[in-house]
Symmetry: C2
Subunit: 470 residues, 2 copies
């Protein structure tokens, strides 16, 4: 930072409410590394605006003085997109108000700093459902979830964050405020500007508030676990279950034996509900508009699936707490994996129909590269997104293991390309995947650069993130 | 057109397959006026590409020579967006292939010229559902439906066209082809470029193909008509029905007595199924994952609604053909309206919760402007989109009536603004609404212009449409 920029920051501080900024190293430290401690950065200034007008004032100033900014929500991202390297940090955490709840419109307007769990609770208090659900929901903030187009376990039924936003308020780099918070479900007046901001990882502007889509709770949920012969068997079962339940499948998650073994080894209280110990199982959730029906629908459909040899074993949760236990098994796989040792992780997607063939090819390739590699592939097979991770057979693998298997990562992404898939299904590009992204998407990146230059000509918005450096 | 441009067109023709262009006046005439005959235009050249590569070659040439182009699908738009005024017309009708059906991925890849009804049929043949459904489905083409982000009667359950597109292939003005047809349901690798093209009314590029989302058919549908005391009563009933059916309401359409009377007067075979003759009624469709359950669920919920005085009368279709009759009543309102005389039409939306108050204020305003005006407001109240039309009390109104009530149109749009609504919920801006759009959305339009200039710097793509002329 040169002396002009230092002087500029002093000017900026002098314009702001003293509560709206900090240079206290202790306070800054929570904002300069990611939650898992993988990325370490630094910033000369943390700004904590309390209003959209303040965000606009800050961005106008930064744009005029060409000061790079990094917007930050709950700082729970997985790809290094919210760790500063010299940029000033704009944390949205003070902007966490619930602005409006509209039950008849099934919409909730909240500020960007609202925590996902709070939003879920606000919806539940109104007897409605906000369906986004993911591991970091106790810290992740709505602005960040929008800027990264978060996914999770219910995408199959309710879509990604992109599908759950009725409208946004955002500040563009030049201080322009765009606002579309009135909760319209249909609006065909020109380009859908909100869609540009969603998933842009803070490179086009700062989301300050959003009107979110709420849903009516299904009257009942049925949750079960079934043993399938293979990933292809899982896809066949999904196809069958969709028809057999009249489209009522709300979640369909693949779980491998090794992943569940790690959960049982490392997570207190975890136990497998199936009598058999299958190589592959799936967690299935179905919904019904009628009370106490979903479990019966699930049971009947799984009965038919058993008759057709699609599954060899199944169990249906008999209570809400058992359903929660089943879900905890699935949700605990990353924890079990972590306790076992380091793993090279790949959040990839292909078309659902191609998932089995992709997994087979990728597993063979990885295991033939190094017989010490153990593939742990699990997750949202219902929407073609599997977390394809490479662990070590033996417990206790460290960074040297990650280093050793690096060539496999590139080969996996090459295979994803061959299968027409995505190298980042739900986590985004951030810093972590820029190189791989650049190597694979030259046409799209060129167009993204044109858009970025048009909206952010001074390149002040999260400039190191998403789009590869030139 | 100056002599350079005439020479350019000759060069362009010489580069193309002779089957790929026409200057035959008879052939051109189908492309130079809209289907309702409201817009009349002209073009020096009709181009009918047969492949994406051909579209790219054409756009590259036109961009290099600054020749304006107008992309055209089924030419069924309602706002004048596809009538040329000197631009060359690029019709996608020869590109109508089904490229791929992937049942396990629930996706269908078709070219832009595929007719909506054909797409629905392709899905049905695979025992799947493509849920977009609207009056013009026998002629409307997928490319146009994407470029106008079409809506229809099932938005409440399945969303707009924007929500039904998994990926696009499109040609940008400089001939760049972007392609994302692999049917991914999750992909977080940068800006979602397809969302920019969807609803852009052909101003940013030409959609050449799309991979569409299919759904599993619900196992049963229940369709009924219920008498409500008022639009507020309709919204109250919607809220109740959502809870009572566990979120199973798939369509919820408001119908006024005057509109249904016109249907009965003018549409052969139409008759009202309710014994009472209420001022307001709603058509409700609910779905169930179980066979033969939806009608019972609907009946039980409407029974409760009756007990709670939310409705005064109701009838449930006892067969598929009766359900079809009910739907035909709703779908025939525009036809009845047309037979009655000309009407000034307003395709507007507000938040669902605000619809009753908006309708009340707008009706009072219109009827006090001229006691001869009869408001006919009907449609998708479940998603806040009502077709708020002004007819004459007496039959036979002509253009002079439309002229007379013009000031009311502006006042209605002002009221829509006050209510935070949209002046075009599903039909788009085109030519028809440019003035009103320009008067109301200066910030958004400025940003749209920046994007347009970045993607289409020579302004060759449908240059008179959507964005107001400067």
């Amino acid at each position: 930072m040169n002396s002009d920029q230092v002087a500029s920051l002093e000017t900026l501080k002098s314009k702001l409410d003293p509560k709206a900024w900090s240079v206290d190293p202790t306070e800054l430290s929570a904002h300069t590394q990611d939650w898992r401690g993988r990325y370490q950065g630094q910033t000369p200034l943390l700004i904590k605006p309390a209003s959209t007008a303040e965000v606009a004032e800050i961005l106008t100033f930064c744009n005029d003085h060409q000061i790079a900014v990094l917007p930050q929500g709950g700082n729970t991202g997985l790809v290094g997109g919210s760790t500063p390297q010299g940029e000033i940090v704009i944390s949205l955490r003070r902007m966490n108000a619930v602005r409006d709840l509209d039950i008849a419109n099934e919409s909730l307007c909240v500020e960007a700093g609202a925590i996902l769990e709070t939003v879920q609770q606000e919806a539940a208090n109104a007897n409605k459902l906000f369906p986004l659900s993911l591991g970091a929901q106790g810290s992740a903030m709505i602005g960040g979830l929008i800027s990264t187009n978060a996914g999770g376990v219910h995408v199959l039924r309710y879509g990604m964050m992109r599908d759950l936003v009725l409208g946004l308020e955002a500040v563009l780099p030049d201080g322009t405020i765009i606002s579309d918070l009135t909760g319209l479900r249909k609006n065909n007046t020109g380009y859908d500007l909100k869609q540009l901001l969603i998933g842009a990882e803070g490179t086009l502007g700062i989301v300050t508030a959003a009107t979110l889509k709420l849903y009516t709770h299904p009257a009942s949920l049925g949750v079960g676990i079934a043993a399938v012969p293979s990933p292809q068997g899982a896809v066949d079962l999904l196809d069958f279950m969709k028809s057999a339940t009249g489209g009522a499948v709300a979640a369909f998650e693949l779980m491998p034996k090794f992943g569940l073994d790690l959960v049982c080894d490392h997570v207190p209280g975890a136990r497998l509900p199936l009598e058999s110990d299958p190589d592959w199982s799936v967690l299935i959730e179905v919904t019904s508009g009628e009370a106490d029906r979903a479990s019966e629908i699930l049971e009947s459909a799984l009965g038919e699936a058993f008759e057709k040899d699609l599954i060899s074993d199944a169990v249906i949760a008999q209570s809400d707490s058992q359903a929660h236990e089943f879900w905890m098994l699935r949700e605990s796989i990353p924890e079990g994996e972590k306790a076992h040792g380091k793993a090279a992780k790949h959040d990839v997607s292909v078309a659902v129909s191609k998932m089995p063939s992709f997994m087979h090819a990728a597993s063979r390739m990885a295991e033939s590269f190094d017989p010490d590699i153990k593939v742990i592939a699990f997750g949202h097979v219902g929407d073609g997104n599997v977390h394809f991770n490479l662990g070590a057979k033996q417990a206790g693998a460290g960074d040297e293991f990650i280093e050793k298997v690096k060539p496999v990562t590139r080969a996996i992404y090459d295979l994803v390309d061959e299968y027409g898939g995505s190298i980042s299904a739900e986590h985004g590009i951030g810093i972590l995947k820029q190189g791989e992204f650049a190597a694979r998407q030259s046409t799209d990146i060129a167009i993204m650069r044109v858009i970025k230059a048009a909206i952010d000509p001074n390149n002040i918005m999260n400039p190191r993130v998403l789009l590869p450096q030139t």
